[in-house]
Amino acid sequence: MGAQLRVYRSKIRSAQTTKKITRAMELISASRIQKAQQRVAASTPYARAVTQAVSAVASYSNVDHILTTEKENVERAAVVIFASDRGLAGAFSASVLKESEELATLLRSQGKDVVFYLVGRKAVGYFSFRKRDSARAWTGGTDQPVFTTAKEIGDELVAAFMRDASDGGVDEIHIVYNRFVSMVTQTPEVVRLLPLEVVEGVEAPGDTAALPLYEFEPDADAVLDALLPVYIESRIFNAMLQSAASEHAARQRAMKSASDNADTLIKTYTRLANNARQSEITQQISEIVGGADALALAK
């Protein structure tokens, strides 16, 4: 067998093995998207209800609580980045990291310090490679998030938010995650968790309209204190679920195009190998014919 042919054969084999792997990953992701999507759909009403209730209070009432009032000078802002644990998901982690880079630049230009909280091994890797600091990192389980992790992140953030800025606390909390729009579109999104941004469905009161008096039971402080962690946790958990669904969708797409690429590679190399085999045969025939001719002439 000619050297050329052997090289092509081994390339075909390696493309075939790669294709097997990418194909398997594609199927695994495809089967997990459904479940992840259902979990997103299931948790969304809760997150929306909590957010709406909180922002209604924030925009309608004049209760003085850290949840509802913006600080005048913000010294430090926290940015929570939701990336993935594993790669091979196309631009999934890269787009989130790029988005948070832009957010950080914007915040710094407003004279705020930026503290990073990382979720997912890819984000941690990105930061450690660039020798940058992060306040805290959570790794593992980004493709199947559990509520306890959301609670842990929430507790940490609330604790940081409650601390004074001079004490190492933060005055703002932003989250950056991939929102699951559809199977083919996942967009990185930046949301300011605290202080609250008014969400859809709650109209801002007009300037002239008197604020309706909100009734609180047992009292405003107690209610809002109880609401703050619930709000943070539900938003974070929702972000984690969205991010997980997006990760599966992104991986499925990346793996599908990898499998397709492997197919074209196999095809090209098979053609080349056939070509090489044919020209080898042609050469052998012409050698034999040439040899026979030479013998016939020598006689």
């Binding site: 809760y46 909590v50 209730a53 909100y214 039971e217 047992p218 107690a222």
Partner: protein
């Protein structure tokens, strides 16, 4: 006139629809909500939330660890754990 009621738990929307009255137990005691109620935000003490639907049918939901919010005749019961009893 009716109030719009949403009952939501951490992992699903339990019930949503129009109702005439809603009775829930907050940390301060039982509270009944009819149309035109002032905006309210209260912590639930757990236990039953009773909804009288338009037409008189009753609905009971068990809600633990949550709160209730009233605004513009929309009542939202948000609980970490909630289930439809009847």
């Amino acid at each position: 006139m009716a109030i719009t009621v949403n009952v939501v738990s951490a992992d699903e929307q339990i019930w949503s629809g129009e109702a005439e009255m809603l009775v829930a137990r907050t940390t301060e005691g039982e509270i009944g909500i009819l149309t035109g109620h002032t905006p309210l935000l209260a912590i639930l003490a757990g236990g039953e939330v009773r909804v009288t639907q338009v037409g008189g049918r009753k609905l009971v939901v068990n809600a633990e660890d949550g709160f209730i919010s009233v605004q513009n005749d929309t009542v939202t019961v948000v609980a970490r754990a909630a289930e439809l009893v009847s």
